[in-house]
């Protein structure tokens, strides 16, 4: 039914080109990290010398802090406001207090803008990274589109296609997010994940274009899988942010105790609390999408197999992921579970997603055996 094999081969070529371009983008982002780490270290040393000569009790981030001029209300908050112990607050309110405290009590030495908006600072390598990522995305998009045209259907009918389209969505969501927030610090991690997905797909599970088996011929394939892929892409972002959050938390603890924090590149990255809050916002959206994935899957299963829920391996893992992220959302409202533990839940949830995709698809038998391997 209208398979164009020649076009399919072009698609595979584009896919390789995209991977190579992403590799360059990855290099640029990594360079940005390394370079700024060195630059910041020297700024820091100078600042320290200055600090030591003036006052010992200087704010840890006062030297490098160019942020917060954009905060008019801050000046009006009585000085006492800054010393309010927001540690006493818990649960959601705790979050609010923590969100709203931008500078007071900030134990981070991060130079990043806490609201993650763009600052005036020029970061050439990061700019190159974004530009090359956009180029790679375009090539990647071409690859996926030609695949879709060659197969005459949506390009997510087997594992190769899930992986390549999934990677495209990850990159797309990242680039889209970049237009609103300065998340370039995530570039190294996100582009690395995209690269891993593309490499695994093109080298590990190359699959020539083909028609869909009857079980997949349903408009639910379009709905269910596209939403699942989008949710997974968002979870990819929050996974990266949660890992960074954990690293940043360790650094902040070290700083608070006056130890050397190490990992200089982390200064480019916002404070743990900012990471946590943005990750939460993205996770909230992703969780809704995942809930919808679960529901759409159940409706499809009802239409295809006559039962909406049968504890098939794939269903089990989709459920497990859903429950883990429900736990994450709960954790954010539970005393003692915000911050680090919530981040761990987010990471565990993402690992379950990877497991569900990579291991369950390949090694577990079930009704959902469409991996095409």
């Amino acid at each position: 039914m209208g398979i164009n094999e020649a076009l399919g081969e072009y698609s595979e070529l584009f896919m390789l080109l995209a991977a190579l371009t992403y590799l360059i983008a990855f290099g640029a982002f990594a360079w940005d990290m390394a370079a700024s780490s060195r630059k910041l270290a020297s700024v820091n040393r100078r600042a320290e010398r200055l600090n030591n000569s003036t006052s010992g009790a200087a704010h840890p981030d006062s030297a490098a802090d160019s942020v917060d001029e954009t905060e008019p209300a801050r000046a009006m908050v009585p000085a006492a406001g800054g010393t309010v112990s927001h540690e006493r607050l818990t649960g959601p309110e705790d979050r609010v207090a923590r969100v709203n405290t931008r500078s007071g009590g900030n134990r981070s030495d991060s130079v990043a803008d806490e609201s993650m908006s763009y600052t005036k600072e020029r970061r050439t390598a990061a700019r190159i990274g974004v530009a090359v990522s956009a180029l790679a995305f375009t090539v990647h998009l071409t690859a996926v589109l030609t695949r879709a045209i060659a197969a005459n259907r949506v390009p997510w009918g087997n594992m190769y296609e899930f992986a390549t389209t999934g990677a495209l969505v990850v990159a797309g969501v990242f680039l889209l997010a970049l237009t609103r927030k300065d998340l370039r610090f995530l570039g190294t991690f996100v582009i690395a994940l995209v690269l891993i997905m593309l490499t695994a797909a093109t080298i590990g599970i190359p699959t020539p274009v083909g028609n869909l088996v009857p079980a997949l011929q349903s408009y639910w394939l379009i709905i269910h899988v596209s939403v699942a892929v989008t949710a997974s892409a968002l979870f990819t972002l929050t996974f990266a942010m949660s890992v960074l959050q954990l690293l940043q938390t360790r650094r902040e603890a070290a700083l608070a105790e006056g130890r050397a924090p190490g990992m200089g590149f982390m200064r480019r990255i916002p404070a743990a609390l900012s990471l946590e809050n943005l990750a939460y916002r993205i996770n909230a959206v992703a969780f809704v999408l995942w809930t919808f994935t679960l529901m759409a899957g159940a409706i499809w299963a009802e239409e295809s197999w006559g039962r909406y829920w049968g504890w098939d391996t794939k269903e089990v893992w989709t459920f497990v992921i859903w429950v883990v992220f429900a736990g994450y959302l709960h954790a954010r409202a539970t005393r003692g579970w915000t911050g680090t533990r919530a981040a761990w839940l987010c990471i565990v949830g993402y690992l379950c997603i990877v497991f569900n995709f990579a291991i369950v698809n390949v090694y577990f038998s079930g009704l959902h055996s469409y991996s095409g391997i």
Binding site: A73, Q217, M295, G306, W309, V320, V324
Partner: protein, 582 residues
């Protein structure tokens, strides 16, 4: 820990007379509030567990006190979280071990292959995870916790919705989001007017507004709140989950599910004897079987032929059927496809499998026809290599049976073996071993039609015997040794496997899960916040306005809201001379 958005409310101003509802008052909770107890000692550090205080008090509680304590623990946020994570972990083994409801045969085989661990796993219900005692215990506890959580919160929120926005804090500047403006005396907006304006603006933005000291001599102020629906969404979400669980139970109690294999030309009538296998719900009654019938006229299969890469992969299965809703009804021609079930009054019929049924005729030693019908062969692989068991219990003087393979397209592989090369019937071949002897069908022990226990039988043919195996092309006949009879391969028919299900719980499941998504989106994306605006007149005649924002729950749009409100007020009051001062 805080239970809900509402509970924070009690912390920040719902409780009368606590003064400034600022972050400095987190511990001021009414003594009867559940969250107060859960909070342990107010003022403890966020990361330090507060359970200690409760433990110390335990001995003095008495019986009802202990009960109340247990209930409180069970309905606490921490327990809910713990049970949720436990549920996630408990669900995993069900994907690692074969499960009885889905695959009873595989479970039996697993236990046979693992004689030591198998029975132990079975003892811990690891082959029935989702109906096991421990899995049920976890989710039932979770849902009890949920009920215990939702009921008081619903009551609290109902009260909150009816109450006025909390009183204006004395020191607005202590709020996390605070701002101030000054209106020049020339603009002619007295304090009263400013407060009224602010109230109007807030009202238009969907806030519930309450004016204070509107006519008084001192500082008129506005208290406003919006986003009550956030907590409504949260409650809706959690209640809907209970609905989903109940729907699950309804499915399990009143539904049924059965399988039937239907060969071309065959008819299925929906009554218990027609099923190949039947799995009723706990409360199933025969009366719920809808008396429809389906005849399979024709089954069309299309395999991929265009591309080399996926050559032979199925791309279309279409069953043409004639259906009747009752024995007396008019026959209707319908099409049954994968992903497109037939529906009869709530009972659905799904196309879930297909294969070949070779028509064979077995003649016995006396020359009589012992069997002449299509025999269903079970498909093993993508080339439709199928295993077949043929039993002829009517054969005389001894019963006859055959096991072997059906190859739709028989081809010689490189190693000389005959293999199936294509799913379409281009060169169908039956490869059989034959047996004679009592099949044991009269002993009343149920045996599967797809298996043959050869231990009590005498083998007549086989690859390892001198007689060799039986190889039959279409329309060929093979004479069995010793005049035991013959077998003829008359031709091929296709069959379909259908699942017939009746599931009265699915509608509830759909409705409640939709409600859950709705509630979820509401609670996650609506911001609940309070605003206070106070106006006053400066000695120099300017009207001073200050305002404070307080988010309740996660609300990342608060900052944007603050900016919008400020812009609106500036437009209203400062439009003409637009001074830069604040």
């Amino acid at each position: 820990m805080r239970k809900s958005i509402h509970d924070q409310g009690t912390a920040t101003g719902d409780s009368p007379g606590t003064g400034a509802p600022s972050r400095q008052d987190p511990g001021k909770l009414p003594p009867d509030s559940r969250s107060a107890e859960e909070n342990g000692k107010p003022g403890t550090k966020a990361d330090a567990p507060a359970a200690g205080t409760n433990d110390v008090m335990l001995p003095a509680l008495g019986f009802t006190g202990t009960l109340r304590f247990v209930w409180r623990q069970l309905t606490s946020m921490r327990t809910a979280l713990f049970l949720l994570l436990l549920l996630a972990v408990a669900a995993v083994p069900g994907s690692l071990f074969p499960q009885r409801p889905a695959n009873p045969a595989v479970v039996t085989q697993y236990i046979e292959e693992n004689p030591v661990t198998g029975p132990w796993l079975d003892r811990f219900q690891l082959f029935d995870v989702y109906s096991s005692v421990w899995f049920s215990a976890i989710y039932l506890l979770l849902f009890i916790s949920l009920v215990g959580c939702v009921i008081p919160r619903t009551a609290q929120h109902a009260k909150a919705i009816r109450s006025k926005p909390p009183r204006t804090p004395r020191r607005l500047s202590r709020l996390p989001h605070y701002g101030a403006m000054a209106i020049p005396a020339d603009n002619g907006i007295p304090a009263q007017q400013a407060a009224a304006d602010a109230a109007a603006v807030l009202k238009r933005r969907g806030y519930r507004v309450d004016m204070r000291d509107a006519d008084g001599p001192s500082f008129p102020s506005v208290g406003a709140e919006r986003g009550f629906i956030k907590e409504v969404g949260n409650l809706l979400f959690h209640i809907a989950l209970i609905g989903v669980l109940i729907s699950f139970a309804v499915s399990g109690l009143f539904g049924y599910r059965g399988q039937k294999i239907l060969v071309e030309g065959g008819t299925f009538i929906n009554n218990l004897v027609s099923y190949d296998s039947f799995d009723p719900g706990t409360n199933f009654s025969k009366g719920t079987l809808d008396p429809f019938s389906i005849q399979l006229n024709d089954f069309d299969v299309t395999f991929e032929r265009e591309t080399q890469a996926n050559y032979g992969q199925p791309i279309d299965f279409t069953a043409k059927v004639t259906t009747k809703t009752t024995p007396e009804a008019e026959p209707v021609k319908q099409v049954l496809e994968v992903n497109d079930p037939l529906s009869f009054n709530g009972t659905n019929v799904y196309l879930v499998g297909n294969g070949y049924a070779p028509v064979v005729t077995v003649r016995d030693g006396e020359g009589n026809i012992a069997l002449s019908e299509p025999v269903v062969a079970r498909v093993n692989d993508a080339a439709y290599t199928s295993t077949i068991v043929i039993k002829a219990p009517d054969a005389q003087p001894s019963q006859l049976s055959f096991v072997g393979l059906l190859l739709p397209t028989a081809m010689k592989a490189a190693n000389g073996q005959t293999v199936a090369g294509d799913p379409d019937p281009l060169n169908p071949q039956l490869l059989l071993d034959s047996y004679s002897g009592d099949l044991g069908l009269d002993e009343g022990v149920p045996t599967s039609v797809y298996t043959l226990d050869t231990s009590e039988l005498t083998q007549l043919n086989g690859r390892k015997l001198d007689t060799g195996g039986i190889v039959l092309q279409a329309n060929e006949t093979y004479e069995l040794p010793d005049g035991k009879g013959s077998i003829t391969f008359e031709g091929l028919k296709r069959y379909i496997g259908v699942d017939i299900t009746y599931d009265p719980g699915k509608y509830g499941a759909l409705i409640f899960s939709s409600l859950a998504v709705l509630g979820l989106m509401t609670t996650l994306f609506v911001g609940r916040r309070r605003v206070w605006v106070r106006a006053g007149t400066h000695e120099d005649g300017r009207t001073m306005v200050e305002y404070g924002f307080l988010a309740r729950g996660e609300d990342y749009r608060l900052e944007g809201e603050e900016k919008t409100l400020r812009t609106l007020l500036e437009k209203k009051w400062l439009a003409e001379n637009n001074p830069k001062d604040k």
